[in-house]
Amino acid sequence: MTDTFGLEIYASNKLVYAGRARKLVLPAVDGEQALLAHHANIVAAVVPGEIRFESEDGVQSIMAVSNGFVEMVNNRAKLFCLTVERPEEIDIRRAEEARERAEEQLRQKQSIQEYHMNQMALARAMTRLRVTRKQDV
């Protein structure tokens, strides 16, 4: 029992996962970051991307997350993201359309504000697609 830590994953509309985990890999601002049991206390920003975690009994899960942050204190990790989706919940066609829309928008001349928003939208769409593709293989 010493090599696991408590993990709670919160999306804005539900508690996605609560239980023990062995490993959590998440997309941080400067690349992927892995959290293992007894990690030093840390609060880190999370960018849109995929998270992978291994639960206590060795089951691997992969999910798509949007902006948020993770808090690891006293061997308990809490991940807060606006959306957290399992691959089977993702509507591939919708994500595909969103990606095309975002790419199209990025080609237009626009303000920095719009540029950032579209870039974020593109990142979310790409993550969703990537996560579903991994599931299929």
């Binding site: 400067d30 609060v43 880190a44």
Partner: protein
């Protein structure tokens, strides 16, 4: 006394109106139930997030961040205050919209420049006719609040705040205290008050661990706080939507009740009128017959 035919027509029209109010009652009650369910779903995220932010502030008490800056340098009379006003898309909800409008107008009497971001058709039309600074491009519906809409709204106001277009941001919406009582509230969104995160009485011997903020405190707060605001705005929208439907439900309930009372009165009147007509007819027949006899 009105004649029986007229009373009957009136009763018919009241019955028809009652059907409509009754239907609206049922629709809003089901909408309210749905909204309450959604609100409950968001609660764990929201409370835990608040706890996390308060934990960070507790460990890093002397944090300096634009979202917490009160901007003391801006004089009170020149402060630009943005205000999100959540009204309904339609009326027929008792005093719901009126209360929000009243509170907004009271709030706008204070010093400073006010800019309104109005949600909902009723408020937009009301403030559109007045001489107030209203953001015309801010067009969102209040029906079925979604996270996406909350994110658009919070992106917009956070940008305005950071660009110093606004120095303070408030939201005026209606909160449901219980099934019967609604309260219109004015909440400050930005700048955040540190005090509101801190529990009033911290035990003295609470262990303070060291927490690393990765990559830096600024970056963490930069993502956390807009997220937190999105959550708050979403919560407010859902709460307002539930309140609106609750207000409409109560309004429709009371109008159905008064329609029933009117129907009761009218049916008594109708019966009287009918009885009077019968009595009169009988009198006429009898007196006619008597006159015939005397001949």
């Amino acid at each position: 006394m009105a004649n029986a035919k007229e009373i009957q027509t009136r009763m018919k029209s009241i019955q028809d109106t009652m059907k409509i109010t009754n239907a609206m009652y049922m629709i809003s009650s089901s909408k309210m139930k749905k909204a309450k369910k959604v609100l409950e779903d968001t609660e764990p995220y929201f409370y835990n997030m608040q706890a996390a932010i308060s934990r960070i502030l507790r460990h890093v008490p002397d944090i300096e961040h634009p979202f917490f800056s009160v901007r003391h340098l801006v004089p009170v009379n020149e402060r630009k205050i943005g205000c999100i006003v959540v009204t309904g898309d339609k009326g027929m909800a008792g005093a719901y919209n009126h209360n929000v409008q009243k509170l907004t107008e009271e709030f706008m009497e204070g010093p400073g420049h006010y800019k309104l971001y109005v949600l909902g058709m009723v408020g937009r039309q009301y403030f559109g006719k007045k001489k107030v600074d209203m953001d015309g491009s801010f067009r969102y519906t209040v029906q079925k609040p979604t996270m996406h809409r909350a994110r658009l709204i919070s992106d917009e106001i956070v940008r305005a705040f950071l660009d110093r277009e606004l120095d303070e941001i408030h939201i005026i919406f209606t909160q449901m205290q219980n099934a019967a009582a609604l309260e219109t509230v004015n909440m400050q969104l930005l700048p955040l008050k540190k005090a509101s995160f801190q529990p009033s009485s911290l035990p003295v011997d609470i262990p303070l661990e060291e927490i690393e903020l990765s990559p830096s405190a600024d970056v963490v707060l930069d993502t956390m706080i807009p997220n937190y605001l999105t959550g708050v705005i979403y919560g407010c929208l859902v709460e307002a939507y539930a309140s609106e439907n609750n207000a409409r439900m109560m309004a429709m309930q009371s109008s159905t009740d008064s329609a029933k009372a009117m129907l009761k009165d009218l049916s008594i009147q109708y019966n009287r009128a009918r009885q009077a007509a019968i009595t009169q007819e009988i009198t006429e027949v009898i007196s006619g017959a008597k006159a015939q006899k005397r001949k």
